[in-house]
């Protein structure tokens, strides 16, 4: 087949060559450094994230790793990597396998039948010390030490987490309970400590955690990352109205900060773009316990801008959208309620 002549022209030929390198197989090592190293450490020894050492990887399937990367651990620090390609996920897994020299296990998806009531009793006796009575690991929080005491060298897995339960088949949980995890201090319960039947009961009990999680409310596809409102008042009046309304809603207001402030000399700054920053510290610290990384979207701010022709607009982040970037159901619940407060404030300001 002859290629169309235009495809052989200089620019397109150059692009095809660039494309060749762009589409080379993804580098698993680079992807690991970028996405995983912060928590699992560069050598996979673990810390906030579980260790990714030979012992752990030898006990899990590639399917478990794939689902774990995709789903993350909602409510914990492990994000769900939904936007990287399948090829990139596979490259990370290949890298982990090469580095650890392990081969993937395969597990049947066949559910394990056990007695949930007896499983709970066995679980309470042997597992709560590390995994907690509710299976959440070391209490509530995301796994970042900022939010809680860290009494273990490695964070125990949150085995009630929906991401874990969706990734780990019963047969895998059964194996881990039986052989343990030496690197993270988990004993092997299958060597005379528990009978096979008791282990199956524990697996059934762990699986029962699945039913306790509420389904996350779907976001309306029309939702935008910010709300933009037009003010019926002039710029200065709008700023004053915003402050009065925030004070009335028990927020503390920080000193004014212009959008361009600090980025250019004070004489060149646009003084008709102002961010009114505010906080309720009790609420904030409660939220930081749920999600310590909130700093990436803080402080709360309503930006007021005067446009050409004197039009004044208010720009407010849409907390319903922002909260969903954190893969944290508890935060979503809190911020959905906070969003209602913001709406009331804006209604009052623009009346």
């Amino acid at each position: 087949m002859r290629l169309p002549r235009f495809l052989l022209s200089g620019p397109i030929l150059a692009l095809m060559l660039i494309g060749g390198s762009t589409h080379a197989a993804p580098d698993g090592g680079e992807l690991y450094t970028e996405h995983c190293g912060a928590c699992h450490q560069m050598e996979g020894q673990g810390g906030i994230g579980l260790p990714l050492l030979n012992e752990k990887l030898a006990d899990v399937s590639d399917d478990y790793l794939r689902k774990t990367i995709r789903l993350g651990r909602p409510g914990r620090v492990m994000p769900g990597f939904m936007r990287i390609s399948d090829a990139q996920v596979d490259a990370i897994i290949r890298f982990l396998r090469q580095q650890s020299g392990t081969k993937a296990m395969t597990f049947s998806e066949e559910p394990i039948v056990g007695d949930v009531v007896n499983g709970k009793s066995v679980y309470m006796e042997h597992c709560t010390k590390c995994h907690g009575a509710d299976g959440s690991g070391e209490g509530k929080g995301t796994g970042v030490t900022l939010s809680r005491e860290r009494s273990f060298l490695v964070m125990p897995a949150s085995i009630c987490n929906p991401g874990f339960l969706a990734s780990a088949p019963d047969q895998m949980i059964q194996r881990v309970v039986s052989v343990g995890r030496k690197s993270s201090g988990m004993p092997a319960f299958g060597r005379g400590k528990l009978t096979e039947s008791e282990i199956n009961d524990v697996v059934a009990y762990v699986r029962s955690f699945e039913k306790r999680k509420r389904a996350q409310e779907k976001l309306d596809p029309e939702e935008r990352p910010t709300h933009v409102y037009e003010s019926p008042y002039d710029f200065d009046t709008t700023v004053e109205n915003v402050k009065a309304s925030l004070t009335g809603a028990n927020f503390r207001i920080f000193p004014d900060r212009l959008l361009e402030q600090g980025l250019i000399d004070e004489f060149s700054v646009n003084t008709r773009q102002i961010g009114v920053r505010f906080c309720n510290f009790n609420v904030l610290y409660g939220m930081l316990k749920v999600e310590p990384r909130l700093g990436v979207v803080l402080p709360c701010r309503i930006t007021i801008m005067e446009r050409e022709g004197g039009q004044v607009i208010l720009v407010v982040p849409n907390l319903r959208v922002v909260s969903r970037w954190f893969n944290n159901d508890e935060l979503i619940g809190l911020w959905d309620r906070m969003e209602e407060t913001f709406t009331e404030i804006i209604d009052e300001v623009t009346l």
């Binding site: 996405h35 005491e149 910010t226 803080l298 402080p299 930006t303 801008m305």
Partner: protein, 160 residues
């Protein structure tokens, strides 16, 4: 080169480069150094990437009173005036996310750096200029974190 060729060329570049993008909502880096020192490396790297530090917000005041184990939580705000002006003029909906900001969270002798991946905003905007801007910010942020990691690793190697 005629206008139509420029269009074809631009579109092809866009397609090829956008296919290579990988991203998620948070970009994070952990370094083995106290946060006070990490901020110095971070500020330096941010400026080397052509950004201006607008200000640093202290968020840790009174944090220990609420039972926190960290004594340092800062947010570093930075940006480029031209970008901020272009966006506030043409895309006012985005000003809530400007200037860019990196959270610096102390964890004893380690520090966690976290930033929102600007590409989290990409699905909401069809405009190709913005898509390129989000990609550029993301690439800069990853490069800034890489620089900080590398500089700190060299510092640790020197002192060992």
């Amino acid at each position: 080169m005629s206008i139509s060729w420029i269009r074809v060329f631009s579109l092809a570049v866009l397609l090829l480069t956008s296919l290579g993008v990988s991203a998620d909502n948070m970009i994070m880096a952990r370094v083995s150094l106290r946060a006070e020192l990490v901020i110095e490396y971070l500020n330096s790297s941010v400026e080397e990437h052509g950004y201006t530090i607008a200000h640093t917000q202290l968020c840790d005041g009174g944090m220990t009173d609420f039972g926190y184990k960290s004594d340092l939580y800062r947010v570093v705000f930075f940006g480029k005036i031209d970008e901020v002006r272009t966006i506030s003029e043409h895309y006012p909906e985005l000003v809530s996310y400007l200037p860019l900001k990196i959270a610096v969270i102390a964890e004893k002798d380690e520090t966690l750096l976290t930033v929102l991946n600007p590409e989290a905003l990409a699905p909401y905007f069809a405009d190709q200029t913005l898509q390129i801007q989000f990609g550029r910010w993301r690439s800069d942020l990853i490069s800034i974190f890489d620089d900080v990691r590398r500089s700190i690793a060299e510092r640790i190697a020197r002192t060992d």
